[in-house]
Symmetry: C2
Subunit: 174 residues, 2 copies
């Protein structure tokens, strides 16, 4: 039996650059029933984790993140590229294939006692997610999980995430 949610994800060759098979999740967003199903599968593994906040990573992590937060009765905190957040920020750098990039959150968005689920649409090498975990830890909050829609498992991004933290993805690409 084909899974309608997984079947809706389309593969776009050579985007954003030659050789990459990009997983396009916009058809899932376009269909209210598939979107609701995606939210359930993303959130359900964490319903008992007492999540207080979801941190969603710019910008495709904003597509499911706030609705997951509403589903878990948690707050939503955006992790953004440098210079996009207007208030006092914390920053973490991470390595790219060539050079480095950085990610920021508002310094007052999280604090001690908060239990954070980090969400992005895709985990590739895991660099951004790992940097986001370090950002969360800078605030004194605890990372209790990672939730991705697509996991590019052949890139082994999980290996770069903190040990002992629950990691779940809806679609694993081997």
């Amino acid at each position: 039996m084909s899974d309608p949610l997984i079947a809706a994800v389309r593969t776009i060759p050579d985007f954003p650059e030659p050789g990459v098979l990009f997983k396009d999740i916009t058809p899932v967003l376009d269909d209210p029933a598939l979107f609701q199903e995606a939210i359930e599968r993303l959130a359900t593994p964490f319903t008992a984790a007492e999540v207080t906040h979801i941190v969603g990573i710019e910008s495709r992590g904003f597509w499911f993140g706030p609705t997951m937060a509403a589903r878990l009765r948690a707050g939503f905190v955006p992790a953004r590229k440098p210079g996009k957040l207007p208030f006092t920020t914390l920053r973490e750098e991470y390595a790219l294939e060539y050079g480095t990039d950085a990610i920021e959150i508002h310094a007052d968005a999280l604090g001690t006692g908060d239990r954070v689920l980090i969400h992005d649409d895709v985990i590739a090498t895991g660099g951004t997610a790992a940097a986001t975990a370090r950002l969360v830890q800078q605030t004194g909050a605890e990372v209790v999980g990672f939730s991705f829609f697509v996991e590019l498992a052949f890139l082994e991004g999980r290996e770069h995430l903190p040990e002992g933290v629950l990691v779940r993805s809806v679609l694993r690409v081997e």
Copy 2:
């Protein structure tokens, strides 16, 4: 009586450039009760409009847009900056103070018979929202409304939107 939702929006002077008073809505996202209240106020004016899709404008229009879509049992379509969407796109340009910018949607995301609510966190001069309306019309779909969290009314952005379409904002800044 102070309105807790409005009170949570904080004003950041001189962001992103000197002289601008930026309305920071991230404290609303951070609080589940305020987020839920924001979704209700954004969506309620359109519950009878038979909205089939919400088009949210990158990237702060992604914060409320998908949850509004879930609330209205509609699909969500991202309008993105050029080059960000992987599939075949439609494009509209719009004027900036100096030069032009453009916005894109997936060509197959909408079509004839669809009834679209356009959402962004803020309407300023209205150029992006008006370009997004033209994009929607390119697909054959109908624009049935505009929903903004903040309206910078002194910039008169509403004047640039199509006539006869319902425009609603939660917080008007005169």
